[in-house]
């Protein structure tokens, strides 16, 4: 066991009795099991297939103490609000901040609250999801051991929650870690949209290790947006695990814009027939940023449909990894899976590793995949310049257009506009691109 791991274990021993739900035997046992498995396996290394291109040295070398949330540090969150999203739960350094939050009335028995609060008042609601946490590697174990708070969103049978629920995580403390844990549960026939949004106050580095579990009942629809806008010194590791029952639909959007090192594991499993999923993603990195998306679609049952649309834009010496794993089980006939990953390199020093991983054990399936890594198209640049646009303007315009193909898929208007504006602001020619948004 290396020193960092020992420190985490020691911290767990010191903190365990103070963590939320400490008096719940099933939760204490789950945490205990998790820290033991973490201590045994340690951090993933480049020898792990799933981590082949992402070195965790910077995270492993440093011990990040648990952030001690001081809710008073954040007095307002106006800069990050989504105007057309009335429900919001705000977390400061991983802890729920009621004064900054606002949750409108949801039709009973639906609920959107702090997970710590639910563990205190109605732990049986969370128990089915936390008792048997998904076996998804060291970071999920670490999260299970230390999780202190997060959002608990539950939507009752047949209830359609029209308005999205905004979960805003604000990090304020340099050098610390927070382990947000979110549960999103849509009962049969229910529908809900959740925006999980990570931002920072201040420029110091920190570590976010988030886990979100999503359960979609029969015929349910869950739309999940993950917006990662950590500061450029931060480490962001996040795992999204969805389980889908028959006829359900799960749409995921991952917008990865910040952090020095970001890893997103997004996985869904079809536990019933006729499930659908679409995984959309956009990563935009520059400088020495590193972003890694590892997606898994587990077609465990027949007649499932999955689509993946991922795009990346890399500048300077940035690095990106995309892994699209699609597993089609033996009896998952009539599976229809398609995956596309396009990468735009704006610099010769940027680097992308993109790999589809298809494991197909059924014979009556449609599976397609495609990946490209390229530069801006010379014909397009020439065409724009013959119309009088300066080269820099033409380049920024084409870069923006490349991203816009993913942004168009964002269905929450304020989030789409906000992300479009962010993209434009990153450009040298921002002034000239303003009217695009």
């Amino acid at each position: 066991m290396n020193e960092t791991i020992e420190r985490y274990v020691a911290e767990f021993r010191a903190q365990a009795t103070r963590l939320p739900g400490a008096r719940l035997p099933w939760l204490a046992a789950a945490r205990e099991g998790a820290i033991e498995r973490f201590a045994r396996q340690g951090f993933p290394t480049l020898r792990d297939e799933a981590w082949k291109y992402t070195a965790l040295g910077p995270i492993e070398k440093k011990v990040f103490p648990l952030a001690q949330a001081d809710l008073g540090k954040v007095s307002e969150v106006g800069a990050w609000l989504l105007e057309d999203v009335p429900h919001r739960l705000v977390f400061v350094d991983g802890r729920y901040a009621p004064a900054l939050s606002r949750v409108g009335a949801l039709p009973a028995p639906s609920l959107a609250d702090s997970l710590a609060e639910v563990l205190a008042r109605a732990p049986h609601l969370a128990e089915p999801y936390l008792r048997e946490a998904p076996a998804a590697g060291a970071f999920v174990e670490l999260n299970t051991a230390f999780m202190a708070d997060g959002a608990f969103v539950q939507v009752g049978e047949g209830v359609i929650v029209e308005e999205p629920i905004h979960l805003l995580f604000v990090s304020t403390t340099a050098g610390c870690v927070s382990h947000p844990r979110n549960l999103v549960v849509a009962a049969d026939g229910a529908a809900v949209t959740v925006v999980e949004h990570y931002v920072a106050l201040g420029g110091g580095g920190y570590f976010t290790n988030a886990v979100t579990q999503i359960a979609a009942g029969r015929g349910a629809r869950v739309e999940h947006y993950k917006v990662q806008q950590e500061n450029v010194k931060a480490f962001h590791i996040a795992t999204v695990v969805a389980r889908q029952e028959a006829g359900s639909r799960f749409d995921s959007h991952s917008l990865s814009l910040g952090a020095e090192l970001a890893r997103n594991d997004i996985a869904t499993r079809f536990d019933g027939t006729g499930c659908e999923t679409t995984l959309n993603g956009l990563y935009v990195v520059a400088g020495r940023q590193h972003v890694d998306h590892h997606t898994t679609i587990d077609h465990a049952r027949p007649r499932g449909t999955s689509r993946e649309f991922y795009r990346g834009i890399l500048d300077d010496r940035a690095r990106a990894v995309f892994t699209g794993r699609i597993v089609v089980h033996k009896d998952a006939q009539k599976t229809d899976a398609g995956q596309i990953n396009h990468n735009l390199l704006l610099s010769r020093d940027a680097e992308v590793d993109t790999r589809p991983q298809l494991e197909i054990y059924a014979d009556d399936v449609k599976c397609s995949h495609g990946a490209t890594v390229g530069q801006l198209d010379d014909n397009m640049l020439f065409y724009l310049r013959t119309r009088g646009l300066e080269e820099g303007h033409a380049r920024d315009l084409l870069t923006y257009a490349f991203a816009a193909e993913v942004l168009e898929r964002i269905r929450i208007r304020s989030l789409r506009n906000r992300t479009e504006r962010l993209m434009v602001e990153r450009m040298a020619e921002a002034e000239r691109l303003k009217e695009l948004v």
Partner: protein, 259 residues
């Protein structure tokens, strides 16, 4: 003063010489047609004039309004009034037609010292032009050329030209792929731009277009050289005898005979 003077222009792509010595003089107000078989170098000439960087001028000289054209960047040429209607207009997903049109118009207005148009003024202008080109307004909000039919792309090129009001317009096979109605609309668009200070180089494979856009001069390009020049009647003669007539003899000898 000549608007455009090309002297012994030789150009290469990827080290392969394509233009082998072009001479051409264009005065303001003139329309020059360039005809020639496929692969003779017509589009190469057009692209070199518009400033495509992967086409290198190996030797020769091009003067535009008395200035060294080859020393200008692509966008400077556009701003100085050169417009190329592409043989194959480029599809640009994610960039709306209206954005490009407005950016182009304002880039050129700014260069000419005219005030930039705001959104309202611009829409008024563009909608009027589109109407005369029989283009629906939905064109504005579609991505540039994406999913356009061949005819729609060509019409879009002529619309751009009409908005940018060039001094020298180069139309590269703007007639190809057009049915007769579309051809008439495009020709009307072009003819409405004819003026004493504006010149046009109309590249075409067939003489059909020249019935609608009547040229002052016709040049025949073959294997990277202008091998024959004449008036309007040359196009008819070509149509009758076919390009074999030009290519039959030694290209060099034919050129000698004409010049």
């Amino acid at each position: 003063m000549s608007l455009l003077t090309i002297k012994n222009l030789q150009a290469a792509v990827d080290g392969k010489q394509i233009l082998r010595g072009i001479d051409l003089d264009v005065q303001p107000g003139e329309v020059h047609a360039i005809m020639g078989p496929n692969g003779s170098g017509k589009s190469t000439l057009a692209q070199v004039l518009a400033g495509r960087e992967d086409y290198q001028a190996v030797s020769g000289e091009v003067l535009y309004q008395g200035k060294d054209l080859l020393a200008l960047s692509t966008e400077e040429r556009a701003r100085e009034g050169i417009f190329l209607a592409f043989q194959y207009p480029v599809e640009i997903p994610g960039v709306s037609n209206v954005y490009l049109l407005k950016a182009a118009v304002n880039a050129i207005r700014k260069h000419r010292g005219q005030p930039e148009l705001d959104a309202v003024e611009f829409l008024q202008l563009v909608k009027a032009r589109m109407k005369s080109m029989k283009m629906g307004e939905e064109f504005l909000y579609r991505s540039v050329n994406e999913g356009f039919s061949g005819g729609e792309k060509k019409r879009n090129e002529v619309l751009q030209m009409a908005l940018l009001e060039p001094r020298l317009a180069i139309l590269d096979e703007t007639d190809s792929g057009l049915d007769i109605d579309a051809l008439k609309i495009v020709a009307e668009g072009v003819n409405s731009l004819r003026s004493p200070e504006r010149a046009m180089i109309v590249i075409t494979h067939y003489q059909r277009l020249l019935e609608y856009i009547v040229p002052d001069y016709v040049h025949v390009l073959s294997r990277g050289r202008i091998v024959k020049s004449g008036g309007r009647e040359l196009a008819l003669e070509l149509e009758e005898k076919g390009y074999a007539w030009i290519e039959g003899g030694k290209a060099g000898a034919a050129a000698g005979a004409v010049r």
